[in-house]
């Protein structure tokens, strides 16, 4: 379930949920936090966000030291459109000692999504950048979360990039300088798996793909062959033959850097 590249079907998720709920009834108390959190995670994948929220809140009650349980509750609240409550959950999570730097990143990504959905695109952009800057060791799940958030924020290209990084980490490959979209296309099963995580990410990958396969629009084409009217051409050749003296700004540019 935590494997970003292996898609679980909805039936597999429902089966896992049933088994977990059965186990939860007789599980020792010290395991209930993680069990409820996992139940919440499955409900989230099944888009049963209200159930997921209840499960994550139960988890947070059983294990009060875990910031990630509150973070996961915030994710459900975002899907339910309860943005102010999501912000409160994020703030509460920040008061608890984070389990790992990855949770700090997740909190920041959720904050970015809330800001975006509240219409504050600039705050969302800043929060997203801060999340990316906090990424330390690459963890596939974190990278997939970055990809998903990027797609919600409309950062299609970054979404594809982080989806590719997530797959690369998951399968132990080196991206090198391979364009992200090409890398994902070279691993179609993994692409399907990571895209299944969120509809917005799947849509972003499709949009980037369509653009990548099409010629650029006229405004974005780069012309290497210059065509200018005769009077401009004549002027250009006069300048080539009788070049003007460098401006003070130009001289300063070269000489300040060499001093």
């Amino acid at each position: 379930m935590l494997d970003v590249v292996t898609p679980m079907t909805r039936q597999e998720l429902r089966t896992a949920l049933t088994r977990l709920r059965e186990y939860q009834r007789s599980a020792p108390a010290d395991e209930l936090g993680i069990i409820f959190d996992t139940i919440g995670f499955i409900c989230f994948r099944l888009e049963r966000y209200a159930e997921g929220l209840d499960a994550h809140r139960n988890a947070a009650r059983y294990d009060k030291g875990r910031a990630d349980f509150l973070n996961n509750a915030a994710a459900c609240l975002i899907e339910l459109g309860r943005y102010e409550e999501a912000l409160t959950a994020i703030q509460e999570a920040r008061k608890r000692p984070p389990m790992s730097p990855e949770i700090d990143v997740c909190l920041q990504l959720n904050l970015a999504e809330v800001r975006h959905l509240q219409g504050d695109r600039e705050s969302a952009r800043i929060a997203f950048e801060e999340a990316v800057q906090k990424l330390e060791s690459p963890v596939a799940l974190n990278l997939a979360h970055v990809a998903s958030t990027a797609s919600v924020l409309g950062f299609d290209d970054d979404a594809v990039e982080y989806a590719a990084r997530s797959v690369a980490v998951a399968i132990g490959a080196d991206l090198g300088e391979t364009p992200a979209l090409e890398f994902l296309r070279e691993h179609p099963e993994a692409l399907t798996g990571v895209a299944s995580r969120s509809a917005s990410l799947a849509a972003a990958i499709e949009r980037v793909g369509a653009r990548y396969d099409a010629p650029p629009p006229p405004d974005h084409r780069i012309t290497a062959q210059i065509s200018v009217p005769p009077e401009a051409l004549s002027m250009l050749f006069v300048l080539v033959e009788e070049p003007p003296e460098p401006t003070p700004t130009l001289r300063k540019l070269f000489h300040e850097s060499s001093s």
Binding site: R125, F155, P179
Partner: protein
């Protein structure tokens, strides 16, 4: 005052969607180019984009490509004849809003555009640097000595900086 900057070629791994040169139409076009086309142009060998980084954040970018004047247009120029006149095209340049007026453009112009033009001249031939500026950039390029190639057709007109002027600026 100039920021200390790392300047290097754009990597396919560089995040590009958070770069913003502004919100007006010209800036949005530059943002879109950087986010969506700079990387794929580079990977296809169609142009070369370099970025200036401040503390790991992309503060600015410039895209250049070697070009030439359509040889059919210069047949009548006696000294050049039918040889295409090679030049370096400054295709796109922009500074992120958060880093404007801090010398980012100057450093990109110097360390990428002008140095690459001189390299091109030294190794392959180059008569100068050519740019089709946006309205907002005409005054900026003029400071470096770019001359508008007056034409009734284009507003603003394309601009040109001869290679010899660059060499003169670099000489002690």
């Amino acid at each position: 005052m100039s920021l200390p900057l790392e300047i290097r070629r754009l990597s396919q791994r560089d995040p590009r969607n958070t770069f913003s040169a502004g919100e007006d139409d010209e800036a949005k076009a530059l943002n879109q180019f950087f986010a969506q086309y700079a990387g794929q142009n580079d990977s296809r060998g169609l142009s070369a984009t370099s970025v200036a980084l401040s503390g790991g954040t992309i503060a600015g970018f410039v895209t250049i490509t070697p070009g030439a004047i359509d040889p059919s247009l210069i047949a009548s120029h006696a000294k050049v004849g039918h040889h295409p006149a090679p030049l370096l095209i400054l295709a796109r340049m922009a500074t992120d809003l958060r880093f404007q007026k801090q010398g980012v453009g100057e450093q990109l112009m110097h360390r990428v555009v002008f140095e690459r033009a001189i390299d091109l001249a030294d190794n392959f031939g180059c008569v100068g640097v050519y740019v089709d500026p946006k309205h907002r950039a005409v005054t900026y390029y003029s400071r470096f000595g770019f001359i508008p190639l007056a034409t009734r057709e284009a507003t603003p007109p394309p601009m040109f900086l001869p290679l010899k002027t660059l060499r003169a600026a670099r000489s002690p």
